[in-house]
């Protein structure tokens, strides 16, 4: 199996981050902003994984026939697992806040949700 050049992963990760950032900054609908946030998180996770990737090495699971020096760096993978869990918690929190917001304001448009200002 041929794996694309490592720079492809970096390119993909950065594009995902920028797409997510664009959605958060530009979109007016809160749900779309939250989706943007998730896309951004995915991009960061991909970036972390790519940093630990070594071309041609296997997954960092200790099994028969795979020596420690034949596996990719396991630390970024552990980091990403943690980051994914945190991301899930944040997404759940934001969505529940969006539900409460919709109950009180009857809209998800950020331009209409402006009781606090100044």
């Amino acid at each position: 199996m041929s794996v694309p050049n490592i720079s492809a992963f970096y390119f993909g990760a950065i594009s995902l981050i920028l797409i997510g950032l664009y959605a958060v900054l530009v979109k007016k609908n809160i749900l779309k902003m939250l989706i943007g946030l998730s896309i951004m998180e995915t991009g960061v996770n991909l970036l972390l994984i790519s940093i630990g990737y070594i071309s041609g090495k296997s997954a960092p699971i200790l099994s028969e026939g795979i020596e420690p020096n034949q596996a990719v760096d396991p630390i970024p993978q552990a980091l990403v697992l943690t980051a994914i869990v945190i991301g899930v918690a944040t997404t759940a929190m934001t969505l529940s806040a969006a539900i409460v917001l919709y109950k009180h304001y009857g809209t998800l448009n950020v331009e209409e949700i402006r009781r606090l200002r100044g």
Binding site: V24, L79, A83, I86, T90, T94, A97, H104
Partner: protein, 495 residues
């Protein structure tokens, strides 16, 4: 006693939070008492750690699971962390007392859990010696902070919380990208080892990584332009939580920023990041002071004032000199005391009189004299009048700023102080010289806390020397990176 017991600082609030559901059936009062007890024990442990660190002069290094760093994650409780863990615990304890009066909305058990986790998160951020562990604690802090902001269940609370979440989400992603870049360049996540290897990183990578981390933490540290969430969240959150935000959650973010900044001080392009931070901090001070001037809601006004003071601390840290860091730490301590006092007083008034609008403060001097007195002292101290504690730290920050060659920043900060004086004196005028009112009986424990904090403010204002020497020790803990590296028993791998 063995220094490893310091890990109880993390374990106790975590276990305490998990046991809240067990006592849920005993009623509201039992839960609030339980939180009070846990925070009191935490204060005791923190005081022991403080005494231990300051009497031996050596940091306590807690190694998780007995693995030596950088393989294992370590906690580093040096002069700074010992001091601030104590402040976190004391502030939480005082607010646990305030909970009895201020919190009535159900579900109290969830509130208690989040309250303890917020304390845990801030403690962890201050104590940890691992940059990814710092990220995890930061997320614990911010997720509980999001939930607590929305706790009152009003539309405003949900709005403030959502704003906070979106900015916080962007911030934590930026932070993680920065961590990824630094990990990619050094191959380690241990802070001491990062400091050791920082000189070898490609300067451009280090600069971008550091700038991303600073931006990510700027959300927690409430620096302009990423602090739009802060006034809303301060206004909408329950009163004790507002005081906690201001007294230590923002401090944890600032500390993390300062720590990582100085760890990377051997990087060639370091001064560019410092300049960026100086500009951000000065803008924070100026913008927040002018926004505070227009506020009708006193809680929101004090929130803006808190942001401006935080900008002052960030300015002190961004100077890159020993004097600046010391002054910043001193200001952090004073700010924690003042803002705990002010938010406690204002929150108590809002609970008693149904809202924190300025109209409710008319005639407060007759209605609630002790609380009004506390707010007045807090306001005068925040402006920076001599004989009160902030005077000394503001003076030292401005001197350090001029010394470091940023005369324009010192000038802008001083000009902003004049604006601060205007709105605080307006508040004092409203309290003492406008409106009439009947005396309302004030709760004894809260009055005791207010008086104790007032005495502390004045005592530090008259005898600043002891606290200044403590701040100097804590400041050199951040500034003297070589000593930091030496203190952590790194195993010789990968370096």
């Amino acid at each position: 006693m063995n220094g490893q017991y310091a890990s109880l600082l993390i374990a106790l609030p975590l276990l305490g939070a998990f046991f809240v559901p067990l006592i849920k059936g005993l009623g509201k009062k039992a839960i609030k008492t339980y939180v009070l007890i846990i925070t009191a024990i935490q204060t005791g442990i923190a005081a022991w750690v403080f005494q231990q660190v300051y009497s031996t002069g050596k940091p306590i290094i807690v190694m998780a699971g007995g693995w030596r760093p950088p393989i294992g994650i370590n906690l580093y409780i040096g002069h700074f962390a010992a001091l601030f863990v104590l402040i976190v615990a004391i502030a939480s304890f005082l607010m646990a007392v305030f909970n009895f009066k201020a919190i009535d909305v159900e579900p109290i058990d969830k509130y208690a859990m989040l309250f303890l986790l917020l304390m845990l998160g801030a403690t962890g951020m201050i104590a940890t010696g691992d940059i990814f562990n710092l990220f995890v604690f930061m997320e614990i802090t911010s997720i509980t902070a999001y939930a607590l902001t929305a706790y009152n269940k009003t539309g405003e609370a949900a709005e403030a919380s959502l704003k906070y979440m979106i900015l916080g989400g962007i911030g934590s992603s930026f932070f993680l990208i920065g961590v990824a870049l630094i990990y990619g360049a050094t191959g380690t996540l241990n802070m001491a080892q990062i400091a050791q290897l920082a000189g070898n990183i490609d300067p451009t990578v280090a600069q971008v990584g550091l700038a991303l981390i600073v931006f990510g933490l700027a959300v927690e540290a409430e620096l302009f332009p990423l602090n739009a969430w802060a006034p809303d969240a301060y206004q909408a959150a329950p009163h004790p939580i507002t005081a906690m935000f201001s007294a230590f959650v923002v401090k944890a973010g600032l500390y993390a920023m300062a720590r990582i900044l100085y760890l990377m001080s051997s990087v060639g392009t370091w001064h560019n990041v410092l300049k960026l931070l100086v500009v951000m901090a000065t803008l924070t001070v100026v913008v927040a002071e002018f926004s505070a001037l227009r506020q009708r809601n006193v809680k929101r006004m004090i929130a803006y004032s808190s942001i401006s003071q935080v900008g002052l601390i960030a300015l002190a840290f961004a100077l890159g000199t020993q004097a600046g860091v010391d002054a910043g730490v001193f200001q952090m301590i004073n700010h924690a005391i003042i803002k705990a006092l002010l938010f406690l007083g204002v929150g108590y008034v809002a609970v008693q009189l149904g809202g924190a609008d300025i109209e409710n403060f008319h005639g407060l001097g007759r209605k609630m004299p002790v609380t009004a007195f506390g707010i007045t002292v807090g306001a005068m101290a925040a402006v920076g009048i001599p004989l009160f504690n902030i005077f000394w730290s503001k003076l030292r920050i401005i001197l350090a700023t001029v010394e470091a060659g940023y005369t324009w920043a010192a000038f802008l900060v001083l000009a902003a102080s004049v604006v601060e004086a205007v709105y605080y004196f307006r508040l004092i005028h409203a309290i003492w010289f406008e409106g009439e009112g009947e005396r309302i009986s004030e709760s004894i424990p809260l009055v005791a806390i207010v008086v104790a904090l007032v005495i502390l403010v004045v005592a530090i204002g008259i005898y600043p020397n002891y606290l200044w020497s403590v701040s100097q020790k804590a400041g050199s803990d951040i500034f003297n990176v070589a000593q930091y590296i030496k203190n952590v028993p790194l195993m010789g791998v990968g370096a």
